[in-house]
């Protein structure tokens, strides 16, 4: 019996060790088209392609670790992964806890709702946002009177928007466009209101999160972002998902 237990423990430990890569990257998997879970359970999307391109540029072997948004910063701090590539915006709040590479894209936030809705209609309505995002902070800061519903993932926001439990959602414009409006579920829904990119809330675009002690890794990512921009690899990935350059000014 004891031998059996020892063997089992050894097998589990070995299985764990076999998957050890140079770098473990936390990705999300519920934020299309940047990151979504494919039918076979693997995570695909712009973030993942960028992650792979950056890893091969740095000459490292990377393993993608699917992590819930709520737990993604704790996972980095607890060393379950070494970097976050999950469309995470570079904000002052987050910089208190983790460090960021330079941005790898920058797109504004927008409202989405039933076709024909305007910002003036928002009074007394319910808006859904993903919990702990720049969009939550933006809504609380700029639209304090409007009832907010907080969701664990962006996919759940869309589900409730279609169900009619919320009247509108605030999120990244590209995420809304390709993850929702351009899909079957998004029929009859459209953007409304302005394009918001206020540094106080929205930060300086999406960057790669690393632990504050890992300055070398941070600089390596920043360098690799420049490299893949120059080599044209970024453009190849970009055009796979979007019709225009989302790197931003």
């Amino acid at each position: 019996m004891t031998r059996f237990i020892t063997a089992t423990i050894a097998a589990i430990t070995l299985a764990g060790a076999a998957g050890a890569a140079d770098l473990k990257i936390c990705v999300e998997g519920a934020y299309p088209p940047f990151s979504e879970t494919a039918t076979d359970g693997s995570v695909v999307g712009f973030d993942i392609d960028i992650a792979n391109a950056l890893c091969s540029d740095m000459g490292k072997e990377c393993e993608m670790l699917k992590t819930d948004w709520d737990g993604i910063i704790p996972a980095l701090l607890e060393r379950k992964c070494d970097a976050i590539i999950a469309s995470m915006s570079i904000t002052e709040d987050r910089k208190q806890v983790i460090d960021f590479s330079a941005k790898y894209y920058n797109t504004p936030g927008r409202f989405v709702g039933k076709d024909g809705m305007t910002e003036a209609d928002l009074e007394g309505k319910v808006v859904g946002v993903q919990r702990g995002t720049i969009h939550q902070n933006f809504m609380e800061g700029e639209f304090p009177g409007i009832e907010l519903k907080l969701y664990g993932s962006q996919d759940e926001v869309y589900l409730d928007l279609v169900a009619g439990r919320i009247d509108a959602a605030m999120a990244d414009s590209i995420a809304i466009l390709d993850g929702f409006i351009n899909t079957d579920a998004g029929e009859g829904f459209a953007f409304f209101g302005g394009s918001y990119s206020i540094p106080k809330y929205h930060g300086d675009g999406a960057g790669i999160g690393v632990r504050q002690s890992d300055t070398d890794l941070r600089d390596a990512f920043t360098q690799s972002i420049t490299n893949i921009r120059e080599s044209g690899e970024y453009e190849t990935i970009n055009s796979k998902y979007f019709e225009f350059d989302i790197y931003g000014g």
Partner: protein, 241 residues
């Protein structure tokens, strides 16, 4: 450690405690109302009805609470006929979806508790009551149920604690219960430990309150079954009581 953030956001947790208590107490009460008739049907093995109740109990005890909540909250919302029906104003609200799911779940478990208690009631109690000329309804209302429900108390206490802990799934469908408060604190300030340990402590406090209440109730309602010091009754005699 940033427990100052917990204190600065105490209203978040106070609201969470209130939400959790609402969901737990109401779902246990509604669950009991479901379980009472269902338990009797199961114990008596009433034709047809027994099969129906059996199916309900089977489904709700056989699937995880989280799956039930997803089906009722996200699943039902997918059908247009549900969204067009008179039920939608209720099913639209996350709170109602959570309450319905928890009540049905609690009802299924409680049905089995009540069935068990009824079936272990000594035959003599029913025979004595019938011999006194009581109607079938009165036999249940005055004799069998008071006796069975008392003996079900300890198990029912377990079920209520289970519901308290089960209600934590409500935080997944946007409700700000105790766990929801912890998650919000974590999402806003990235303090996983402080937020969740506070939630855990609050759950423990509520659990002990419930356990205490049930102990009081057991002391009162099960007094006749207690073995006092010096009482020389054989275990068999106790079972006969």
């Amino acid at each position: 450690m940033r427990f100052d953030l917990v204190f600065a956001n105490w209203e978040l947790f106070a609201g969470g405690v209130w939400m959790t208590m609402q969901l737990t107490v109401l779902s246990v009460l509604i669950g009991f109302c479901i379980a009472l008739p269902c338990g009797i049907i199961r114990a008596r093995g009433i034709k047809y009805a027994n099969g129906l109740v059996n199916a309900y109990v089977y489904v709700f005890r056989g699937t995880p609470l989280l799956v039930q909540l997803y089906l009722i909250y996200y699943g039902l919302a997918q059908f247009d006929f549900v969204k067009d029906s008179f039920l939608w104003p209720v099913l639209r609200e996350a709170w109602w979806c959570a309450l319905i799911t928890l009540s049905l779940n609690s009802g299924a478990y409680a049905t089995e508790i009540i069935r068990g208690a009824l079936q272990t009631t000594p035959k003599g109690e029913e025979e004595a009551a019938t011999a006194l000329g009581l109607t079938r309804f009165k036999v249940y209302a005055l004799v069998l149920l008071p006796s069975a429900l008392r003996r079900a108390l300890p198990q029912y206490g377990n079920e209520v604690v289970f519901m308290l802990h089960g209600s934590a799934v409500a935080s997944i469908i946007t409700l700000q219960d105790i766990l929801g408060a912890g998650r919000t604190l974590n999402a806003k300030f990235y303090v996983a430990y402080e937020g969740f340990i506070t939630a855990a402590i609050l759950y423990i406090c509520l659990t002990f309150m419930l356990v205490g209440l049930f102990r009081l109730a057991e002391g009162r309602f099960l007094r006749h079954l207690r073995i006092d010091a010096g009482d020389r009754i054989s275990p068999k005699a106790i079972a006969m009581r």
